[in-house]
């Protein structure tokens, strides 16, 4: 297989505003193709959401970028450095939050933070302590006695406290309660103001919508969409079920409505248009219950691309 070789640090030297660059990345595990000819470029100073349903290849991509696994073919660069060959130089400028909890159960939260700070170097201690407060973490207990969310906080603080140029986060909000999730978003906002780049994976659309500047959507190891969030608004479909007191008003004419099921008193539909328009139409009749939910990514894909 031929891969166009444009690399070498010199040639990307004038392109220092590129944080991550993947060129035809392919990764196979035996017969399973986890990533299939993936190419993209990410500018510095942005928050990138890396979306995809379970098994899409998100974690695989992150591990390739970290040099933990080797691509079957293709290559990747972080700040112009080859992720396989210049691991040490790259790792001193990035931090990583793994998808699974992988901390040492017998150590306390604070001991963990100290260890990771010393290994990485460049801890901003004041910021670290501030983070511990903001996340409301009791750092003096053993990691194994923490709940899932508290464990997650430790890795998040560890990733933030060294203020690295690039943060690679694998489902960073899993386990966090809504309040903490908000706190985390603030931290990312601060990071962005500092000029740091964030690359985070998720399978929750709304989360990415709330935090990210750009989105990359992966499915079965292939990039299916990418770009600025505004351009991808058609993804923000809502699933709505309404039960009326009596009679369903006519909504089929409204732009963005796809009716899935309806009876005399109830209707179930997908909606991706202007909410004011919709609300005006449905409030003509009395409503008994109203249920709106965001479809899962997988559902979205099915509706958009078929299975």
């Amino acid at each position: 297989m031929k891969i166009p070789h444009t690399k070498g640090r010199a040639d990307i030297g004038d392109n220092m505003n590129i944080a991550i660059r993947c060129e035809h990345l392919t990764k196979k595990f035996g017969n399973v193709v986890a990533l299939d000819d993936l190419s993209f470029e990410i500018e510095t100073g942005r928050i990138i959401g890396y979306l995809g349903p379970n098994g899409a290849g998100k974690t695989t991509t992150l591990k390739l970028l970290l040099g933990l696994i080797k691509p079957t073919s293709g290559c990747a660069y972080i700040f112009g450095m080859d992720v396989q060959k210049e691991r040490i130089a790259i790792h001193s400028q990035i931090s990583y939050v793994p998808g699974d909890n992988v901390l040492w159960p017998e150590m306390s939260g604070m001991q963990t933070l100290e260890l990771l700070g010393n290994l990485h170097g460049g801890t901003d201690f004041e910021y670290r302590n501030q983070l511990v407060e903001r996340f409301n973490l009791d750092p003096h207990k053993k990691v194994k006695s923490y709940s899932k969310g508290n464990k997650q906080k430790v890795t998040l603080i560890a990733a933030l406290m060294t203020r690295p140029k690039l943060m690679i986060l694998d489902e960073p909000t899993s386990g966090l309660d809504p309040l903490m999730e908000l706190e985390f978003r603030n931290c990312l906002k601060n990071a962005k103001e500092n000029g740091q780049t964030v690359f985070l994976s998720s399978h929750i659309l709304s989360e990415v919508e709330a935090i990210c500047d750009d989105v990359y959507i992966l499915r079965d190891g292939k990039l299916v969409e990418s770009g600025k969030l505004e351009d991808l608004k058609h993804y923000s479909t809502v699933d709505i079920s309404i039960v009326f007191e009596q009679g369903v008003p006519d909504i089929s004419a409204i732009r963005g409505v796809t009716i899935l099921a309806s009876s005399t008193d109830s209707v179930h539909f997908k909606f991706s248009g202007n909410f004011n328009e919709l609300l005006l139409a449905i409030t003509k009749n009395k409503i008994r219950t109203f249920l709106a939910s965001e479809p899962s990514l997988e559902e979205l894909f099915i509706s958009l691309y078929g299975k």
Binding site: K63, L66, G67, L68, I69, K70, R87, I88, A89, H91, S92, I94, S95, Y96, P98, D100, N101, V102, L103, W104, P105, E106, M107, S108, Q111, E114, L115, L116, N118, L119, H120, G121, H140, K141, K142, K144, S145
Partner: protein, 548 residues
Amino acid sequence: MTATPTLEVMSPKAYKMTAEPFKRSLKKWAKSSFLWGLVFGFTIIASASSYLSFYPTKTSRELLSKAFGQNLATNAIFGPAYNLDKLAGFIVLKSFFTLIIVGAIWAILSSSKLFRGEEESGLWEHFLSGTTTLRRTYFQVLAGSLVGMAVLWLTVTLVLVAGSYSRHLGLSVSQNCFYAISIISTPVIFISIASLASQIFNSRKAVNVSLGWSFGIFYALRLVGDSGIGLHWLDLISPIGWVELLHPMIEPKPIYLFPIFIFSFLCLTASAVIVGKRDLGQALFDNSLPSKVSKRFLGSDAGFSLYLAKTTLYSWLVSIVLTGAVLGLVSSSAGATLEQSSIKTVFERIGASGNGTQSFLGISFEIVAALFSFMNLGQITSIREYEVAGHLDISLTMPESRLRWITNRIRVTIVAELLAGVACALFTWGFGYLHGGGPSLTTAIFATLNALPPSIFVIGAATLAFGLSPSKTAFVGYFVIGWSMMVEIFAGLGKTSRYFFDTSLYHQMSPYPATKINLVSAITMSAIGLIGTFVGVHFFRQRDIISN
């Protein structure tokens, strides 16, 4: 088509019926039980054959019996020898003690992993996310372990029955059955203790340490009990003593199965009570307060690698030092008996000549070599466990190279081994000296040095596997050690091809001080070990890091 398969899988009933913990536990035990069963069985048959060929006449058997049977030192270490004028007695002398030790170590390592390690690593959380309860999970793991023991019993019995039939050893089926029962007694005891310790402590490490100490104490009790100073009753309070008192083959005393049964039953009942009351991940002594960790352990990866290994290494250090001390203590009296006994010819077959003390030390330091091998292997397999647990994903995304990371681990292993070696030599010499005999300091040092190359070979083999096929790390390591031990036991036979013996690390190691140190072998083993390590590290630097 009315029901889709997905629906079936999702139904709560299907969850309730899940036998995943049982299947997993059974799979783990059955495989190793079968393999160990074969090893145990063939070892016994081999020792029987060697008896028939070395002591063909009645006179030679009586001589052996006289010489060996009254030696208090060997009684204390290996257990009393009975009826050496009969085949059955010799078999027990040659194999029973080794099988007790191997059975105990195997049971300790496997059951601490199944009863606590897998809970700690989060596997049980998956089981519990169905409708299975903690208690049910525990019982399933236990049931799997006990069925595994049945597999061990059956395998040993079958090999023994077939072996004694084909070699005309004249051992009855009931003798063989009871010997197999005696052999599984030790693992059953330690599985029971492990299940209890796993309810008391909430880390596998703590469970392992407590099991190690139990083993040490039980062994020491029976050691004193058998040392002929009138404290025979100590045998009666040591579970290992009970196993010894079963007297399989010779004059079976099934009555001692009773305390073994009661003891195991009590441990298991206590476990069941605690497991019904505690939560996942908890234990009776739940210390959620972290212990203080010195700054230097957290300051760098080198410090941290020491922090992770130190508890295990302390335990090994203690066992190796104690072994050295015991060897020093008994070497002169054991040697004196050996000198005038015909068992010396057995030792001579494995290449040990020289005076009695030297022969004794030559053979005994093979035990020390095996301990060193196990200690090193434990370090390399813990590197693999670190990867499986996902810790390596964190360590290797820090600005430090893979080479540096693994070098830190291997360096801890080698430094610890050297320290243990020095301590062992000092204690062997010191205790021998206190007892008014034993080897000189130089002899003790060289004997220890001579015991190191096999364990360096083991580092090489395990590291090579870790680099090339990480999931096989433990298997390769234990295979190399297990194979070497087995072949060395066969070596007493004296009839098989010497190329076969040469495949054993402990046969390659010369029984110094009984003979001169075989420098060529020592250097070859060390060199292969080093090359294996380098190649393994080389491949580790290139390969994918795969966590669970």
